[in-house]
Symmetry: C2
């Protein structure tokens, strides 16, 4: 490890791999002690005995640190970024496809399913995971929607996505559990689209009085 990378105020010096895993261990402890919302990167650095700059050096932000501490195989903020970069009329489809690919990929499937079960529990870990999702996923999407009811829209979209996760990956109810991704995207994408941007603007048979 070069001198430039060394934490200047650390209680002890660590090589790069050690420092990074010390930060992750400290982050897990800090998240568990304080919850997602009340954990600061400064407190994580203090607990790890490293300079706060080193935390920023290894991790983009609190969300990235949390996703790594959880060993989440997919960073929810990447799904958000992907979704927000999509054309507005493909928002629902893009989100549903990204979520399905995350829970279906052989490399990530088991850990993702485990996280779905954790998030549905009623212990502290579950509450923290949900704080994280509300803060980093729902609020960011709502912030982009630019509608007076953006937060309601975001929680409604989340209700369809959470239900899809529960039925497909948690309960594994057939035939939804094994339906091809494209089929599920065709059926659920328009629902998420409707919740996020469609309600009140989309032309429905009901709106036409049919």
């Amino acid at each position: 490890m070069s001198e430039a990378e060394a934490p200047r105020r650390g209680r002890r010096r660590k090589d790069a791999g050690d420092a990074r895993s010390a930060i992750l261990r400290a982050a897990s402890a800090e998240f568990l002690a304080s919850g997602y919302d009340d954990t600061s990167l400064r407190a994580v650095a203090r607990r790890a005995g490293v300079d706060p700059a080193l935390v920023h050096h290894y991790f983009d932000d609190k969300a990235a640190l949390f996703a790594e501490a959880l060993e989440a195989p997919v960073r929810p903020q990447d799904i958000v970024r992907l979704a927000l970069a999509a054309p507005r009329d493909r928002l629902g489809e893009t989100i549903v496809r990204a979520v399905l690919e995350a829970i279906d990929a052989p490399a990530t499937r088991d850990r993702m399913r485990q996280l779905v079960r954790t998030a549905l529990g009623h212990d502290f870990a579950a509450r923290m995971l949900r704080q994280f999702l509300v803060r980093e996923v729902l609020s960011r999407i709502a912030g982009e929607l630019d509608a007076p009811d953006a937060e309601l829209r975001a929680t409604l979209a989340a209700s369809q996505i959470v239900g899809l996760l529960v039925v497909r990956a948690g309960i594994q109810a057939e035939p939804l559990a094994s339906a091809p991704v494209d089929e599920v995207v065709r059926r659920v994408g328009p629902v998420v689209q409707w919740h996020l941007v469609g309600f009140g603007t989309v032309d429905t048979p009901e709106a036409r009085g049919e």
Copy 2:
């Protein structure tokens, strides 16, 4: 207790209240030992030491017995019956309203929320509760749909309803947790409608090539 009501082959005689609660206790034990699908009313009667006719006298069917053994404040089969009696174009709205009323009513709210949490667990009770819902709710609705993809439609509708239960009653994420029933019905009813009967038949901007 009149002679006519007495179980003829029971190991001991019980008055009506006793017999009914003995059946309920036996049913709980039998469901826990064998799961929902593999429990028969005959086995419940045997365990309770009463004539099978007496089980049928007190309870309409296995679903009714299960709902009572669970102390479920709402019988899912009543929601199904209500939904299936609704005009076909109001199926989604009717189901969503019935579910919301069940989880919001002051008298039933706490027990319903507890059941939502139980159903989401990964122990035997959770699996049994889900067997019950699949058998008594999803399969019955699918059976009425008369479409080749009826079972996929039923699981997709369930995904939106389960997600709504989780976000509104489980996680209690705002603003969805406190949104008025009518507002939620207006937004989620069309989604359940779309999943059950709309997909491929409803006129969407996409279908019109917009």
